[in-house]
């Protein structure tokens, strides 16, 4: 599956990139699977996803939980809890 990934705030800083296009293997079916898979890519990803419970995710501009399915997703974003307002 081909996905556009977007990273924000310290997730972006630790990965060292604002985003990328990636082909993810078929066994990666949920947001949580994707986090685990990314965390194994290198030290930067490992640092970004060291505490997966606090990572927020969005699929195609909508907040989702970690158990959300990736099927049909075009853009998946990962970021820390929001601090706007």
């Amino acid at each position: 599956m081909s996905l556009e990934l977007r990273y924000f705030a310290w997730v972006r800083e630790r990965i060292g990139s604002p985003g990328e296009s990636l082909d993810v293997p078929g066994e990666v079916t949920t947001v949580g699977d994707l986090i685990s898979w990314l965390a194994n890519k290198d030290e930067g990803y490992a640092a970004a996803f060291a505490e997966p419970d606090i990572i927020r995710a969005a699929i195609d501009h909508e907040h989702v939980e970690h158990d959300a399915a990736l099927a049909g997703a075009k853009e998946v974003a990962f970021f820390p809890p929001m601090t706007g307002g």
């Binding site: 501009h61 909508e62 907040h63 820390p80 307002g85």
Partner: protein, 155 residues
């Protein structure tokens, strides 16, 4: 009541008076206007600036969803939300919410709801720039903000 929703995400400052006028001028059915303006504070002189990062596209979409929810819950004639991004120094405004209604309680509650949800769901992140130390930390989300947003959840 049909509610006119206006959402803007922009780096430049906004004009709260002009936004208020858009909600009230030339109409005689608005009884109450509540505005909230959030400013960058200097935290006792220790903060030099905040840099607000946002998720373009999702920021507009998410604030739009929050506004639609407010318009569904309260009888509003207009609801405006403007959120800045980029570098903002102490004393400058960051966010504006303005809610117009025929009833004061609706205007107060809708504006307060908007702010609680903007804080916890709008995809913005603040990075601090400390006085004398340009490498600051990312602001941490507050449990009190989650609790404030939780107030509005329906049973």
């Amino acid at each position: 009541m049909s509610c006119t929703i206006r959402i803007r995400i922009q780096p430049q400052p906004f004009d709260a008076e002009e936004e208020s006028k858009q909600l009230t001028e030339g109409r005689s059915d608005v009884g109450a206007l509540v505005t909230f303006t959030g400013y960058c504070r200097d935290e006792g002189g220790t903060l030099a600036a905040l840099t607000l990062e946002h998720y373009p596209g999702m920021a507009e979409a998410e604030i739009g969803r929050i506004a639609e929810e407010a318009a569904a819950r309260w009888p509003l004639s207009g609801l405006t939300a403007i959120h800045r991004h980029g570098r903002i120094v102490p004393g400058e405004p960051i966010v504006l919410v303005a809610a117009a209604s025929s009833h004061r309680q609706a205007a107060f509650e809708a504006a307060s709801f908007m702010m609680d949800y903007l804080k916890t769901r709008a995809p913005f992140w603040k990075k601090e720039e400390r006085v004398g130390d340009r490498d600051g930390d990312w602001v941490r989300a507050k449990a009190t903000d989650d609790a404030a947003a939780g107030r509005w959840q329906k049973p």
